[in-house]
C-alpha cells in the first residue's frame, strides 16, 4: 500500500521544525523562531487531519500502518498504526501544540528558540507514542519525551522548578524502566518479537500476567497519575510555564491511561480482571479524596492540577469497568479533559501574565475589568464541573452509567464528583472573578488580546461542540472499543 505516510509525517514534521527552530539560535532571532515554530505546529496539525477524514470507522484493526525493519539485531521494527482508540489523541496533540506555541508567543522572552523547539519536538514524540505498534519504538518515544519536558519545567518554570523537574523525571523514569523489563520479558516469551499486536495474542499464565500488569501499572499509574503516586503532578504543574502545564494536563496524563488500554488490558486480561477491584478502589479514592484536596487549594494552578488527578480517576475507573459505556466514557473524558484542562491552565496563564500571581486571594472582581475573559473562563469552569451541553458532561455521564451496571456503590461514589467538581471549580471562579476589587493591581487589568481571544475561543468552540454533538468523536472509537472489550473478555490462561 503506497499511500502517504501520514503517521510518519505527524511525528517527524514537528521534530524537524523543532530542529529548524533551534537552528535560528539566539534571542536576537526570536521573531523568526516564533514564526518557524508556528508554521511547524500548523503543518503538524494539517498533517494530522487526514488521519480523521480518511479514517475508516467500520474496522477495528490498525490503519495507516507503516512497517520497516529498524534494529534487526533485536528484531525491532519501525511499526506505526492507529485505531479508534489512538487516532483522536494524535489530533489532540497536534492541535494542542498549535495552541501552546501561540500561547507562548509574547510571554516567553528568554531562550525563545529553545522553548518553541522543545514543544515541537515533544509534540512529535507524543504522536510517536500514540502511533507506535512496536514496544521498543513506543518506549523510545515514551522516554525521549521526558527530556524536553524536564528542560521546559526546569528552565522556564517557577521558583521551585528544579525540585519539580527532577521529581517529575525520576518518578516517571522509575515506572518506565520496570515497563522496559516487562517488554524484555514479553520479547523472550513471544520468541523474539517486540510487536505489540503479537503480545496481545500471547498466552500467559496468571502469575506472569500479574507481574506484567504490575510492571505496566508502575509506568502508567505514575503517568496518569493515580493516587497515591500522584504527588509529582501538583509540583510539576505549579512550577511549569503555562505551555508546559497545558501539555502535561492535555496530553501527557492521557499517555498513562492510553497505556492501560493498549497494554494492560489486552496483554494481561486475566490479571486485569483479577486486579480490577484494586484499580477501581484507587480510582475512586482519586475521584473523591483528591476532589476534596482540590477544594482547599489557594493556588489556582494547584487546584486545577488536583482537579486533573480527580478527573483522571474517572478515566481509570471507566477503563476497569470492562463495558462499552465505561471504556468509551473514559476515552471521551480524556479528550474532553485535554481541551478543558488545557483551556483552564491557559486562563490562569492569562491572569498570571498580567499580575504574576497564582493565588486566588490576590484576585477578586476581575469581571469588572475583563468581561470577555470572564465569559470564556466561565464556560471552561462549567465544563470542568461537568455541566450538560459541555464536553465534560458526556464523559462523566457515560462512566457513571457504566459503573452503575457493575455496582451501584461505584456509581454513587463516582457521582460525588459532580458535586465536588462543581464546588471547587465554581468556588474558585467566584472568588477570582466576582466580588469587589480589593487588590489595586486588579484595577489595572486589560481584557484579552486578539491572540488570547483566538486561542481560548477556538477551545471554547471545541468544548461546546463535543458537549452538544459528541457523535463525530464517539463513532470513531466504537469498533476498536468493541474489539478491545471482546479481547479482554477472553482468558489467556488456556494456551499457557
Amino acid at each position: 500500500m503506497a499511500s502517504t505516510p501520514w503517521l510518519s509525517l505527524v511525528i517527524w514534521v514537528p521534530i524537524l521544525f523543532g530542529v529548524l527552530v533551534l537552528a535560528t539560535g539566539s534571542d536576537r532571532n526570536a521573531r523568526l523562531a516564533r514564526w518557524v515554530a508556528l508554521v511547524g505546529a500548523v503543518a503538524g496539525f494539517l498533517a494530522s487531519i487526514p488521519l480523521y477524514t480518511q479514517f475508516n470507522v467500520q474496522t477495528a484493526g490498525m490503519q495507516f500502518t507503516e512497517l520497516h525493519p529498524w534494529i534487526e539485531a533485536l528484531h525491532v521494527n519501525y511499526h506505526l498504526g492507529v485505531d479508534g482508540i489512538s487516532v483522536l489523541f494524535i489530533l489532540l496533540t497536534s492541535f494542542t501544540t498549535v495552541v501552546v506555541v501561540a500561547a507562548g508567543w509574547k510571554v516567553i522572552e528568554k531562550r525563545v528558540a529553545q522553548y518553541m523547539a522543545a514543544f515541537l519536538i515533544m509534540s512529535g514524540l507524543m504522536n510517536g507514542v500514540f502511533a507506535s505498534l512496536d514496544a521498543i519504538l513506543f518506549y523510545v518515544f515514551w522516554e525521549a519525551m521526558l527530556i524536553p519536558m524536564f528542560l521546559v519545567i526546569g528552565v522556564w518554570g517557577g521558583p521551585n522548578r528544579v525540585y519539580a523537574a527532577v521529581k517529575f523525571f525520576l518518578y516517571t523514569l522509575l515506572g518506565s524502566l520496570l515497563m522496559l523489563v516487562a517488554f524484555i520479558y514479553l520479547y523472550q516469551r513471544s520468541g523474539g518479537s517486540f510487536d505489540i499486536l503479537d503480545y496481545q495474542q500471547l498466552p500467559l499464565g496468571l502469575e506472569a500476567q500479574v507481574l506484567i500488569f504490575l510492571a505496566f501499572f508502575m509506568a502508567f499509574a505514575v503517568k496518569v497519575p493515580m493516587w497515591p503516586v500522584h504527588t509529582w503532578l501538583p509540583d510539576a504543574h505549579v512550577e511549569a510555564p503555562t505551555g508546559g502545564s497545558v501539555v502535561l494536563a492535555a496530553i501527557m496524563l492521557k499517555l498513562g491511561a492510553y497505556g492501560f488500554l493498549r497494554f494492560c488490558l489486552p496483554i494481561a486480561p486475566d490479571a486485569s480482571h483479577l486486579l480490577s477491584g484494586f484499580m477501581i478502589t484507587l480510582s475512586l479514592i482519586a475521584v473523591v479524596y483528591i476532589g476534596l484536596v482540590a477544594l482547599v487549594q489557594g493556588d489556582m494552578k494547584k487546584l486545577i492540577a488536583y482537579s486533573s488527578i480527580s478527573h483522571m480517576g474517572f478515566v481509570t475507573l471507566g477503563i476497569f469497568l470492562f463495558n462499552r459505556f465505561g471504556t468509551e466514557g473514559a476515552l471521551v473524558q480524556m479528550i474532553s479533559h485535554g481541551f478543558v484542562s488545557g483551556a483552564l491552565f491557559l486562563c490562569v496563564g492569562v491572569l498570571y501574565d498580567r499580575l504574576h500571581s497564582r493565588q486566588i486571594n490576590d484576585y477578586g472582581g476581575v469581571v469588572n475589568r475583563m468581561p470577555l475573559f470572564a465569559t470564556l473562563f466561565m464556560l471552561f469552569a462549567m465544563a470542568n464541573s461537568g455541566l450538560p451541553a459541555t464536553s465534560g458532561f458526556v464523559g462523566e455521564f457515560m462512566v457513571i452509567m457504566g459503573s452503575m451496571k457493575v455496582n451501584f456503590w461505584y456509581s454513587a461514589a463516582a457521582a460525588t464528583t459532580l458535586i465536588f467538581g462543581a464546588a471547587y471549580t465554581l468556588w474558585m471562579y467566584k472568588r477570582v472573578i466576582f466580588g469587589k476589587i480589593t487588590n489595586p493591581r486588579v484595577e489595572g487589568l486589560s481584557d484579552l488580546s486578539t491572540r488570547e481571544f483566538l486561542i481560548l475561543g477556538s477551545l471554547a468552540v471545541v468544548v461546546l461542540a463535543m458537549g452538544v454533538y459528541p457523535l463525530p468523536f464517539t463513532e470513531v472509537m466504537h469498533s476498536s472499543v468493541a474489539n478491545l472489550l471482546s479481547h479482554v473478555a477472553q482468558s489467556k490462561l488456556k494456551g499457557a
Binding site: 539485531a73 533485536l74 525521549a144 527532577v166 523525571f169 524484555i184
Partner: protein, 482 residues
C-alpha cells in the same frame, strides 16, 4: 624451516608497526625542540592512522593464529583494535591544548601512550596466558608512568603510587590464578585449556580456586566492586588528559582480556565464573551509582559512574552465551564513546591555571555555549540510558541477555539502581541548563576539538537513532570469533 615465518608475522603487522614507530618517535623526539613538539604529535597520530590501515586491510572476518596460538587475530580483535586507535587518537586531540598549557606536552607522553597502546593490542590478541600477562603489564607500566607524568603535583604522584601498588597486587593475583589453572590443565594456551576443561578434570576444587584469583585480578583491572578502590582516587588525582586515557582505551583492552580469558579459555567453567560475576556486577551497579551521588568532583563522579558501567558490562557476560558477549561488547564500545566525550568536555572547560573539576564549573553552560551544553546533555542522557541515545540500547542489550539467562531479580535491581544513577547525570544537566553561570564568557576551543566533540556527541545520538550497524558489527564479530 626458519624460526619465524611470514604466516606468524602477518597477523601481527599492526603491533610490529606500532612498536617500530614508538621506538622511532622515542629516538627522534630527543632531537626536537619544545616548540616543534607538534611534530611528535603528528607522528603519533600518523602512527595510529597507519595502524588503522594495517588492521583494516588485515581483517578478513576469520580467525588467524600465529606463533603456535600465542597470538590470535580474529574479527573481535580487529573491531576492538580499531576502536582502540580511534579512542586514543581522539584522546590526543582533546588533550593537546590541556597538556600544552600545563607543560606536559612532551615526548614521553606520546611514547608512553604508544607503548600502552601496544600493550592493549597484545592483550586483545593474546591466545596464551603469558602473552596476556605481557600485554597487561606493558600497558599497566605505561599507565602508571603517565599518571605520574605531572612530576611536581603531589596529588598525581599519590594517585600514581596507589595505582601502581594496587595494580601490582592485581597482577600478582592474576599470575597466581594462572599458575593454578596451569597446574590443573597443564596448558598455558587458552585453546588447550578449553580443550582439557571440556573433557572434565579431576581436581575441580583447585581449578575453581585458581578461577577465583583470575576473576579477582580481572575485577581489579576493570575496576568493579569490591576491587574498585583505586578508580576514584586515580581518576581524580591524575591530570584530566590521563584520566581520559585511563577511562577509555584500557576498558576496551580489559574487555578483550575478559573475552579471551573467560569466553575463550574458561568457557567450560561458565557455570562457576558467572556466579562470581553476579556478585561483582550487582555490587558495582549499586555502589557505583549510590556513591556517585555524593561526589562534588566531576572526575570522581565519572569514576563511580565508570564502576557502575563496568557492572553493566559484566551483566552481559552472565548469560555465558554469544548473544550476551555481543551485548557486552556493544556496551563497552558505546561506553568508550560516551566517556571520551564527557572527559573531553571537562578538558574543554579547563583553562590556563584552572581545572574544571567541580560540578559547579558546569553551571550555566547553556548560556555560555549552547552547543556544547547540548552535546553534554546528549552524553549525560546516554550515560543514564535514556533513549534516543546509544546508552539506552547498550543497557537494553545487556539487560535482555541477562533476563534471557534467567536473572530476573538481578535485572530488576540493575534497573532500580539506574534510576538512582539518573539522578546525578540529571544534576549535570540541571547545572548546565537551570543555573546561572558564574563566569559568563563563552568556552573557547580549537577548531579540531570543536569538530571532534560535535562528531562525538552526534555519534552518540546517531547510534541512538540507528543502532543497527554497530550492533550488527558486534554480533557478527563475536559469532565469527568464538
Amino acid at each position: 624451516m626458519s624460526l619465524v615465518s611470514w604466516h606468524d608475522l602477518a597477523p601481527m603487522l599492526p603491533e610490529i608497526f606500532v612498536l617500530c614507530m614508538g621506538s622511532l618517535i622515542l629516538l627522534v623526539d630527543a632531537f626536537i625542540a619544545d616548540r616543534h613538539r607538534f611534530v611528535t604529535y603528528a607522528a603519533t597520530q600518523l602512527t595510529l592512522l597507519g595502524a588503522v590501515l594495517l588492521t583494516a586491510q588485515g581483517a578478513h572476518g576469520e580467525t588467524v593464529t600465529g606463533f603456535h596460538g600465542l597470538f590470535i587475530e580474529d574479527p573481535v580483535a580487529d573491531v576492538l583494535k580499531l576502536m582502540l586507535y580511534v579512542s586514543i587518537s581522539a584522546m590526543l586531540v582533546y588533550s593537546k591544548s590541556y597538556l600544552q598549557v600545563r607543560g606536559l606536552f612532551r615526548g614521553e607522553f606520546f611514547v608512553l601512550v604508544l607503548f600502552a597502546a601496544l600493550g592493549m593490542m597484545i592483550m586483545i590478541s593474546a591466545g596464551n596466558f603469558l602473552a596476556l600477562y605481557l600485554g597487561l603489564e606493558l600497558q599497566a607500566l605505561c599507565l602508571y608512568a603517565l599518571v605520574a607524568l605531572s612530576r611536581d603535583s603531589a596529588v598525581a604522584t599519590e594517585a600514581a603510587l596507589k595505582y601502581f601498588v594496587l595494580g601490582a597486587l592485581a597482577s600478582g593475583l592474576l599470575l597466581y590464578g594462572m599458575s593454578m589453572v596451569y597446574g590443573v590443565t597443564g596448558h598455558l594456551d587458552l585453546s588447550g585449556i578449553a580443550g582439557v576443561l571440556a573433557h572434565g578434570v579431576k581436581d575441580h576444587t583447585v581449578l575453581v580456586f585458581g578461577l577465583v584469583f583470575l576473576v579477582a585480578g580481572l575485577a581489579f583491572k576493570l575496576g568493579v566492586v569490591p576491587f574498585h578502590m583505586w578508580v576514584p582516587d586515580v581518576y581524580q588525582g591524575a591530570p584530566t588528559a590521563m584520566t581520559l586515557f585511563i577511562g577509555t582505551a584500557p576498558k576496551i583492552a580489559a574487555f578483550g582480556f575478559v573475552i579471551r580469558l573467560l569466553a575463550g579459555g574458561l568457557q567450560p567453567l561458565a557455570h562457576d565464573w558467572s556466579g562470581m560475576l553476579v556478585i561483582l556486577s550487582v555490587l558495582s551497579i549499586a555502589i557505583g551509582n549510590i556513591t556517585a551521588i555524593a561526589q562534588s568532583n566531576i572526575k570522581r563522579m565519572l569514576a563511580y559512574s565508570t564502576i557502575s558501567h563496568m557492572g553493566f558490562v559484566l551483566l552481559g557476560f552472565l548469560s555465558g552465551n554469544l548473544q550476551g558477549y555481543g551485548a557486552a561488547m556493544f556496551y563497552v564500545l558505546v561506553y568508550v564513546l560516551m566517556s571520551l566525550g564527557a572527559f573531553g568536555m571537562v578538558m574543554l572547560l579547563s583553562r590556563q591555571g584552572f581545572e574544571a573539576e567541580h560540578l559547579d564549573d558546569f553551571k550555566g553552560l547553556n548560556q555560555r555555549s549552547p552547543w556544547y551544553a547540548f552535546l553534554m546533555l546528549i552524553l549525560m542522557f546516554s550515560m543514564a540510558g535514556i533513549p534516543p541515545t546509544a546508552g539506552f540500547y547498550a543497557k537494553l542489550a545487556v539487560l535482555s541477555s541477562a533476563l534471557d539467562a534467567g536473572y530476573v531479580g538481578l535485572v530488576v535491581a540493575a534497573v532500580l539502581f539506574s534510576v538512582v544513577g539518573a539522578f546525578y547525570y540529571l544534576r549535570i544537566v540541571k547545572l548546565m541548563y537551570f543555573d546561572a553561570p558564574s563566569d559568563p564568557s563563552a568556552c573557547r576551543a580549537h577548531a579540531d576539538v570543536g569538530v571532534l566533540m560535535s562528531a562525538n556527541g552526534l555519534a552518540v545520538l546517531a547510534l541512538g537513532i540507528l543502532p543497527q550497524p554497530l550492533m550488527a558489527l558486534c554480533t557478527y564479530s563475536i559469532w565469527h570469533s568464538l
